[in-house]
């Protein structure tokens, strides 16, 4: 149990990279990138987690009761919101590629080919 969280994070990152490498569709590739990002969320929240501790919100229970680490939670929170905007940016780039080249398959794109 004590290393399960790290193994899950490593697995998510690894399978995301595998998906990116073998992807044949840019939209699918961006989805795989989202899986890679979720690996960092699991890792960060796992680092801050503490058994038998409450959430870091002292509304119902007074300050001083054991609570998990709020710093990593703040990191992950902003990361999720910004990563959604980055996903939108990547999707917009993919749409531009589709408009110019007519394909979303990375293997049909050549860097210096003349536009059709």
């Amino acid at each position: 149990m004590s290393i399960l969280a790290w193994c899950v994070a490593a697995w998510l990152f690894g399978i995301g990279v595998y998906g990116i490498v073998t992807s044949r569709h840019y939209v699918h590739l961006i989805g795989c990138l989202a899986v890679c990002q979720s690996a960092t969320y699991v890792l960060l929240l796992g680092i801050g987690f503490r058994w038998h501790a409450g959430p870091p919100i002292f509304y119902d229970h007074p300050p001083g009761t054991p609570a998990v680490d709020p710093v990593v939670q703040a990191l992950v929170l902003t990361d999720i919101v910004v990563s959604a905007a980055m996903t939108a940016l990547l999707l917009a780039i993919a749409l531009q590629v589709h408009k110019r080249r007519g394909t979303l398959d990375p293997q049909h794109l050549r860097p210096f080919r003349q536009e059709k």
Binding site: L12, G31, L104
Partner: protein, 81 residues
């Protein structure tokens, strides 16, 4: 509580793998939705309600919608060509 965290961690690994292994982008969007939901549940179990709230909205509503719209726009571009 430890079995809950363990089960959700394994479920997260499974959901992430399904996102990668569903090769059809249109089906992958549903897998992404499920992945977002499982991640949100895991964050709740890890005592992070703030993070879970933003993940459940971003992961199950906003990102899948952007994917769907991008796929629809690509299909329309193809039809116009």
């Amino acid at each position: 509580m430890s079995w809950l965290v363990g089960a959700l961690l394994e479920l997260t690994a499974l959901a992430g793998s399904l996102v990668v292994l569903s090769r059809d982008p249109r089906r992958q969007v549903y897998a992404l939705c499920a992945n977002g939901l499982v991640l949100a549940l895991l964050f709740f179990a890890l005592q992070a309600p703030d993070v879970a709230l933003s993940e459940i909205t971003i992961g199950t509503v906003v990102t899948p919608l952007l994917f769907f719209v991008a796929l629809a726009a690509a299909a329309m571009n193809k039809a116009r060509r």
